[in-house]
Amino acid sequence: MKENNSFLKGIIDGLPICFGYLSVAFAFGIFATGQGLTVLESVVMSMTNMISAGQLAAVPIIATGGGIVELALTQFIINLRYSLMSVSLSQKLGKSVRLLDRFIIAFENTDEIFAVASGQKGTVGKRYFYGLMITPFLGWSLGTLLGAVAGNILPQIVISSLGVAIYGMFIAIVVPVIKEEKATALCVILAIALSCVFYYLPILKGIPSGFVIIICSVIASAVFAYFAPVSEEVDYE
């Protein structure tokens, strides 16, 4: 099988991802400093995590001084999907990828990078992968920095408007899938119903946000995994 191992081609394929990350990270930076994190903390979080949903969930936990266990469990559940992608990616890597490279590549196995790498014909080499990783990492870090700094300068109406950016992105991920797949749509509806119950029912209101995410998503996914198992090999895109 042919191995894609051009560093330059990796860079070129990574650029569109970089621009996408730049804008989303900008919104995240505004959100993070708005919740009380410092500019440095926000940027470090982006540089060491590279996950929009996980970071968005972590900020309120950190800002309100929530439990470390809550934070760790939340991140575990939200990141679970990447373990599946890592399993898939491990079959896609070429001979040039050594154990040490796997330790580095794992750090940046995000949805978009996974999608681009998986879409290549043949196997993917380490030089291609490193090229692919660089600009999205810079875009995510720099976007967070710019957003975190701009949060103090931009007028309130602009900051408020950018508050929906990350949720808009989540909607863009979920809606096209549930449009096609009935079981996933029902799973999402159950998850949302549970989420609303936790949000509006007075007795449940005190439960920390991280646990709400875990409880609702695990229940909905387990119910549908049991009653509507996904047939055949799971397709990631």
Binding site: T48, A53, Q75, S83, F107, A172, C187
Partner: protein, 103 residues
């Protein structure tokens, strides 16, 4: 050391380990149907739980938040890219915030 850094350290560790361990250790595909299905549904459930009802409180005004949500749903329905959907949702909120301020 400020406690925020401990949070950040734990977070980075969990995020990394979840991605790293399967990539380094697993050489075979997961066959268990329940686990595969569970892992398939989890991201959509997580993102939905995080979005609703939080999106309606992410903006100063609930009405403009609703417009942002509506625009995002419409653009996502027509399979526009992540950045396009997010941008138009922000724009919708921005415009309705201005209109609300004027009224």
């Amino acid at each position: 050391m400020n406690s925020t850094w401990i949070y950040l350290l734990v977070m980075a560790l969990v995020t990394y380990l979840v991605r790293m361990i399967p990539l380094v250790l697993v050489k075979e595909k997961i066959k268990n149907k329940f686990i595969c299905s569970f892992l398939y549904y989890i991201p959509y459930a997580v993102l939905s739980v995080m979005t609703i009802p939080a999106i309606f409180y992410a903006v100063d005004n609930k009405i403009s938040a609703f417009f942002g949500f509506l625009v995002a749903m419409i653009f996502a329905f027509f399979k526009k890219s992540l950045v396009t959907v997010a941008s138009f949702a922000c724009l919708a909120v921005f415009i309705s915030e201005i209109i609300i301020h004027i009224i």
